[in-house]
Each structure stands twice: as C-alpha cells, then as structure tokens.
C-alpha cells in the first residue's frame, strides 16, 4: 500500500538534485546537457522542496522516517517538521532561482578549461547536503550531511583554482569549516552522552545540568557561528564568497549561512530545553557586534562581491539579535515576546536569503557582461543593463530595510521585540536591550548608505572603464531569476501577515507558543503585540508609494502624448558652471565612504597609498594622481595572530620532547605503561 507522506517530497528533491549531478558528468562532452538536464533537474528539486515546505507548514504533524543508509546498525533518521520544512523552502526558492540563472552564467566556462562536470557534480552534492542537513534527525546523519555540504562547497570555492588567491581562500574556508564541524560534534557529543543516544529524539530528553547545557550551548554557538559568520569567526566569508562562481556565491551566502542558523535554532530552541538568560545576552551581544562590524567593513570595500559578503555578516548579526531577544524573553518566562523574536529572526532569515541571492546574482550578471567586480571601474550600467539595474535596485532597497520591502518588516519586528524590554524584571536588561536596538538602527542606516554607494557608483553616472561602457544586458534566464527573487522581496514585504502566520506555526512546534494578536485585524494590518501598541500596514504603505509613482507615470505619459516626438530636452549638466563632465570627475566608491572612514577611523586598519607623478617642467603641478586604499580586517590582528602565536609557541614547547634519541622514546612508552597500570589498579 503506497501512502503519501511529505517525506517522499524530500527524497524526491534530494534524488532530483543528485540526478542532476549525475547528468552533469556528461557536461564536458555535451555542453547542452547543462541547459536541458542539469539545471532543470536542480530547478525541479527546488520546486519539490518548496512543495515539501508547504506540506510541512500546512499544519501537518512532523513526519519521521528511517533510512537504511550509513552503517548497518546506525540508520539515518529523517524528520520533517515545520522548522526543517521552512528551511527546506528557503533552500528550494534559492535553488530554483539559481537553476534559472545558471545556464546563462556557466556558458562563460565552456570556453575555459575548467571542468563543467566538476562544477555540476559539486553543486548537486552541495545542494543535496544542505537539503539533508535540515531534515536529519540524528547527530550522525546531521554531521555526514554537514560535511558533504562543507566539502562540496570547498571544491566550488576552489573552482577557479588557477589563481593562487582562490586556492588560499578555499583552504581557509575548509579549515574553518572543519574546526566548526568539530565544535558542533562536541556540542552534540555532550547532548548524546546525557541523552544516551545520537538521535535528536533522545537528546531532547537529555536533562542536562546547567553547566553541561551551557557547555553544549557555547560549543554550538561557536561551531555554527563559524559557518554562519559571527565576528570574529567570519574571516573566511569575505575571502571565499567573492572567488566562487556567482550563482554559487548566491547559494552559499543566501542558503548555506541559513543552514548554520538552522542548526543553531535546532540546538538551542529544540534540543537544549529551557534557556538561561545569560545565553540570550551573549547571543544579543554577538549579534550586535556582528551587525555593526559587518556593515562597517562593507562600507570600505570596493570589490562588489566582497562587499556583499560583509553584508552577509551584518545580516547574520541581525538574525542573531532576534534570536538573542527570543532567548532572553523565553528565559524570563515571557513566551509571547520570545515568540516574536524568534519569528523576527526566521523572517529575516528568509528575507536575507532572497535579497542577498538577488544581489549576488546581479553581481554575477555584472561580472559576466560588464567584466568587472571592482566598483571603481563601473558606472552608468543602468543604461546598458536596464533590467538587471531595476532588480538590483529592489535588492538594494530590501537589504537597506526600507518600506515596503521585506527587509524592513523583519527589522521592524526585531525593533518591536526589543521594545518589549520594559516588561523584563531585570533593570540591566531593560537598559541594554534598547542600546542593542540602537546599534541595529545604526547598522541599518549604514547599510542604506552602503547601498546608495553601490547603486550610485555601479549603475548611475557615467561608465568609468571601456569594458563597462560596452556591457550588454544579461541573458533571459539570468534576468528571469532576478525578476523572481525581486518579486518575492516585494511580496514578502507587502504580505507580512500571511508570512507571520506561517512562521508562527514553526514557533508553536518548537516552543509551544505562537503569536495570536499579530494577524487578528485581518491581512491588512500587522499588529505583533496588540493593535494599540504597534501596527504596520504594508499594503497601504505600498499604495502610498505607488500613488507617487502613479503621479510620475501620469506626468510622463501625458507629456509624451502632448509632445509626441519631443522627449524632455537634454543639455549638459550644469554642475555650478564647471567644465564638461568626465567620468573621472564622479564621486568614486572610496570617496563616497570617506566621511564614514573619517568618523569611524579606529574600526579598520586602512592602508592608504597616494602615488603622485609630477610634471617635470612645473614641479608643483601633478600629472597623475593615484589613490589606493584597502582595509585589513582587525580580527586578524587581534584574534587570529595571537591565536597563531599561541599555537606556535605551544607547538615549540611540546616539540621539545621530540629529542630524536631512541632511548627517550622508549622511556616515554615505559613511563606511560607504568602510569596506565597505576591508573587501572
């Protein structure tokens, strides 16, 4: 008797992904396979994942299953509950967009000697790994899937391996991923030791003492934080994301970081049981520092993909602020507000996946058709690539948390949660939470500054290099992928009530509490606590903005009709009467961020270099001026170098016992033997 279960959808999705991977083995011989088999299968997997997500979020109870994989006595446990369903949906959405974007993008590689087969296989393994991580229901399956994800993505980062910098970035990534995996394993180990089994079901009843729970929490925070990119464990992110192919960057930044967030939520909200308030404070502090640090570093970048990678760090910080607030409220026995924090974090997870993938895909389009990653060489692309420009603008508005787009809703919810700090007993928490909210406000506003810089320098003004001047619009598939993501950004921004209702189910499953008041006033009003406390009507705000656009359209088209042949007269720019404009006169990305660099100077270690070539006839007149600037990540100086020095020192000290004399080694064995014998008696 065949019985349908949502788990089937998960298997179908994974199988479809793997089939795509298998098909791409032939991609080197027949490149058409890429377009007609590999990416469609990946897209199918995305669609099926979304279906599984909807099935899991429709209110059905969690489905569990056992797979006869792995070792004979250690079966894989699979569980599809609403949390894993939600993350499966996020993976599915982005995978779908990437499958539309991919064929156009990888065409570039068919002329190079990089293997398309390797790219396809590793992409498939990477996606399959992520899909398996979120449905794994025991530590063993989780770790296997996690490693599959990490290793496959290592190969993807190292894909363009002929450049030494890429190999170095990939190695750094692999190293951090492995250290993180060990910490996660230890965290699970603590739980398993007390729960008696490696399944998550047993871990839920581990009944840890506060000390052990804190140990497991700390290990999990560091382990998952390494993948998610909390400061100062984020250093691999700005190195690895820029060098991967752009659609892979979208997957890594949009989805893989979210899988780490999933792991953290699963561990803290599901497996560990009642949280302690200090965990919340730690997570809140980590989140605040991460968000501010991320955006400050993003501001001084001029490599577009690197800049986006630092923004991922910032957004992970925002997600962690939400989670920290949730932990604080849950531990203070105020679940109604805790739920709000959790929902804000989950909402931002979804939003960040959407707009960050959109921006990375846009950056990919710029890279392929404008051949530029450096903002300082771009400019005027809105005329060459109008569609990409439009969707990139939507991405910029979303990530800058501006209404009526999706990024605003989740930040608004985070603020609303923070506002409930007045209900807390502890005066210190009441004072600290608003300060972290102020940090959030600052980083949100700085993000807007940063994206004005990105958009203004890349798309507006005049082209700063020849290649950019002759850029072409991206292929249909690439534009379509961006269009889908941009529409979703608007959709999730305008319909927050429906989304919050779905997210509330996750929270009910995890903690037993959901939001009740948020949607009581109907779909038009989002009222997280109560209507008189705070309300936001995204559709009406959208209506307001649309009215403004409508006014423009009315004027635009009526003026067109009146003067059929004459568009608005065009003249040289006034520019206060200075001479004709040249591209060199425009504000560059570095110039735009200069006031910020001046104000927050201690946040970076800036290397500035001014090269001045003087006129040989007139020594006071410079012929050419060049200004080079790059910012070193302070965490290298203050965190990694001391760690490295310590490890080196420790190694040297331990190295002393390596004398090279055979008799000494025999003596070690002899003393060890005696010590062991003494121990066991």
């Amino acid at each position: 008797m065949f019985e349908f279960s949502p788990a089937m959808l998960v298997y179908a999705a994974v199988c479809s992904t793997l089939a795509g991977g298998f098909a791409s083995l032939f991609a080197d011989r027949w490149p058409a396979v890429q377009k007609f088999l590999v990416f469609p299968l990946l897209g199918l997997s995305g669609v099926v994942s979304i279906a599984a997500c909807l099935a899991a979020l429709s209110g059905a109870p969690a489905v569990t299953d056992e797979l006869a994989l792995g070792l004979p006595w250690l079966q894989w446990h699979v569980r599809l509950d609403s949390l894993s369903g939600f993350f499966l949906g996020v993976i599915g959405l982005i995978t779908l967009a990437v499958s539309a974007f991919g064929p156009g993008y990888v065409r570039e590689y068919s002329n190079s000697h990089y293997s398309l087969a390797l790219l396809g296989v590793m992409t498939a393994l990477f996606v399959a790994g992520m899909q398996l991580v979120v449905v794994a229901d025991d530590a063993f399956a989780f770790m296997v899937a996690w490693e599959l994800m990490s290793v496959a993505s290592y190969f993807l980062v190292a894909f363009e391996h002929e450049e030494a910098a890429n190999r170095r970035a990939a190695f750094l990534y692999l190293l951090m991923a492995q250290v993180g995996a060990i910490l996660i394993l230890l965290s699970f180990g603590v739980l398993a030791a007390h729960g008696g089994d490696f399944t998550f079901a047993a871990m839920r009843h581990a009944g840890l003492t506060p000390l052990w729970a804190a140990a497991s929490f700390g290990l999990g925070l560091l382990g998952f934080g390494m993948k998610a990119g909390i400061v100062p464990l984020h250093v691999w992110l700005p190195e690895a994301h820029p060098v991967a192919p752009s659609h892979i960057s979208a997957l890594m930044s949009g989805v893989m970081l979210k899988v780490a967030v999933y792991g953290f939520i699963r561990l803290v909200f599901d497996l560990l049981g009642d949280p302690h308030w200090s965990w919340g404070v730690v997570v809140l502090a980590v989140g605040s520092v991460t968000s501010l640090y991320g955006v400050l570093y993003a501001l001084v970048q001029h490599d577009l993909k690197r800049l986006l990678a630092y923004h991922s760090v910032e957004n992970i910080g925002i997600i962690y602020i939400g989670l920290g607030l949730a932990l604080i409220f849950f531990s203070a026995n105020l679940p109604a507000f805790g739920v709000l924090g959790l929902i804000a974090a989950l909402y931002h997870t979804l939003n960040h996946a959407l707009f960050k993938s959109l921006l990375f895909l846009g950056a990919g389009a710029l890279l392929q058709h404008g051949h530029e990653r450096d903002l300082e060489h771009m400019g005027g692309l809105i005329r060459r690539m109008p569609w990409t420009a439009l969707f990139f603008l939507i991405g910029c508005l979303s990530i800058s948390a501006l209404p009526p787009f999706n990024g605003f809703v989740s930040e608004w919810l985070t603020f609303q949660t923070a506002l409930q700090a007045t209900t807390l007993e502890s005066g210190v928490l009441r004072a600290v939470i608003p300060i972290s909210a102020a940090v959030l406000a600052l980083s949100g506003a700085l993000a807007a500054t940063c994206f004005v810089k990105v958009y203004g320098v890349a798309f507006l003004g005049q082209a700063r290099s020849r290649k950019v001047r002759h850029a072409r619009e991206a292929s249909h598939g690439m534009v379509l992928a961006q269009a889908v993501l941009a529409c979703l950004c608007l959709l999730f921004g305008v319909l927050p009530t429906t989304t919050v209702e779905f997210l509330s189910r996750i929270s009910v499953d995890l903690t037993g509490f959901g939001v009740t008041a948020a949607t009581r006033q109907g779909w038009l009003w989002l009222t997280p606590i109560a209507p008189e406390v705070a309300s936001y009507s995204a559709p009406l705000v959208l209506l307001g903005v649309l009215l403004a656009l409508g006014a423009w359209a009315a004027v635009y088209f009526s003026s067109r009709k009146r003067r059929l042949v004459q568009p608005l007269p065009r003249r040289d720019a006034w520019d206060c009467g200075f001479g004709p404009l040249t591209p060199r006169m425009q504000y560059s990305a570095s110039a735009f961020a200069m006031p910020i660099r001046h104000i927050f100077r201690p946040a970076w270690r800036l290397h500035e270099e001014k090269v001045r070539e003087m006129d040989p006839q007139l020594s006071t007149r410079p012929l050419q001026l060049r200004y080079l600037m790059h910012a070193d990540d302070l965490s290298w100086q203050y965190f990694y170098l001391p760690v490295e020095r310590f490890v080196q020192g420790a190694a040297r000290r331990v190295g002393r016992i390596q004398t090279g004399h055979l008799r000494h080694y025999l003596a070690y064995s002899f003393f060890t033997l005696i010590a062991l014998l003494w121990l066991i008696t």
Binding site: G427, A431, P602
Partner: protein
C-alpha cells in the same frame, strides 16, 4: 508603588535635577577645553546645590539648607573662580586636553551608568526615602569622574575630575542618608577648599620643575630612568 505622574512635583523636580547632574557629568567627560570644563563643573555645583535645597525643602531638614548654601558658594562660585584664575595665570585657560577616543569614552560612561544602576538595586530595597532612585546617579557620578581621571592628561582637568568626584560623594550623602552630620560636611567642604588651594600651588611647582602640566610627563620623575 505610585505611578511617576502621581508623585508630588517636588519629587519629580528632584529626579529631574538628578538627571541633569548626570548630563553635566557626561558633558564634563567630553569637554576638551580647559575653560569649558571648569564652566561645566561650576554648573554641576550649581545643580547640586539646587538639588540639595530641594531635598531640604522636601524632607524639612534645615541643616541641608546650610549644605546647599555651602556647596553653592564653594563649588559653583569660589572653586571655579579659583581654577579659572590660576589657569589664566598659568596661561593654560585656552588649552586643549584632547579626549582619547571620545566615542569609546562616552560608551564606557554609559556602561558605567548601567553598571551602577545594577549595583544599587539591592540598596533600593532597604530604603524608602524619596531620593533612593538617585543613589544610582550619585554612584555613576563618582564612577564617571574616576573615568575622567584616568583618561585625561592635563593636571588641571584632573583636578576638575577630582572635584567632580567629590561632588558625587556629596550627592550620594544627600540622596542616600539625607546628608551627613554637619560637622563632617563642614570638614569635607573645607578639605576640598584647601585641596583646591594646594593644587593651585602645586601646579606652579610642577611647572617650575618639569616645565609641563602634562601628567604623562610625570613618569620622568621615576628614579629608574634617571
């Protein structure tokens, strides 16, 4: 517990003055110019004496009026006048004592306020007097003055910080125990006065012997380096 809005006006005024004193201590911390720092210090003394008078009015303790007058005369008028006169004679009135990392210093001050609030929560449980909410502010005043002492280089601003620290202690005495016994208070007031005079004399001696009033240079006096 009554709602804040139902408190009598005088109690609201006391709290407002306490908050203003807190602001003055932040202002003092961020002031880089010597003359401005002394002026802010004078304002702080004035606010403190006003607050003392208010507490005296509210609690009906006559000896607090004397404290109020004393602090008005000494802290708001005489000592600032003395400091300005000395600075002028030393030629450092328009000097600049740069605040190190102003943003970070202000953040540290904010953290100190929260920390002090946390520290005095148990104290608040024990006392019922109207000024108990202000105890945290008085402690914060002491802490911020200490912070100013360790972040400044010039001797003159350090003296201002020291005087402000004494303001904090006086404030604590007024708010926590409705003032100290009159004898003690008078004694302290004259101590401060004498201290101000002696500091003034010392400035001249320090400058004469090492030709600067930058306290970082005082490390040169260590015998080891000679």
């Amino acid at each position: 517990m009554t709602a804040y809005a139902d408190l009598p006006l005088i109690e609201q005024l006391i709290r407002t003055f306490a908050a203003l004193i807190l602001v003055s201590s932040f202002a003092l911390l961020a002031q880089a110019r010597v003359v401005a720092a002394i002026q802010v210090f004078a304002w702080q003394g004035f606010l403190l004496s006003a607050l003392t008078a208010l507490v005296a009015w509210n609690s009906g303790l006559p000896h607090l009026y004397i404290s109020a007058v004393l602090s008005l005369v000494l802290k708001a008028l005489f000592i600032p006048w003395l400091l300005i006169r000395q600075s002028r004679r030393l030629g450092i009135l328009r000097d600049f004592d740069a605040v190190i990392r102003p943003g970070l210093t202000l953040m540290a001050a904010g953290t100190l306020v929260i920390f002090c609030y946390n520290v005095v929560i148990p104290v608040r449980e024990f006392t019922q007097i109207v000024t108990r909410d202000a105890i945290a502010v008085s402690l914060a005043l002491v802490m911020i003055s200490l912070l100013m002492l360790i972040t400044r280089r010039k001797a003159i601003t350090q003296v201002v910080a020291f005087m402000s620290l004494e303001n904090g202690l006086f404030f604590a005495a007024v708010t926590a125990t409705q003032g100290m016994p009159m004898v003690v208070e008078l004694g302290i007031a004259f101590d401060v006065l004498i201290a101000a005079v002696i500091f003034g004399v010392f400035f001249f001696h320090i400058r004469d012997s090492i030709e600067t009033l930058d306290v970082d240079q005082l490390s040169r006096l260590r015998e080891m380096d000679e």
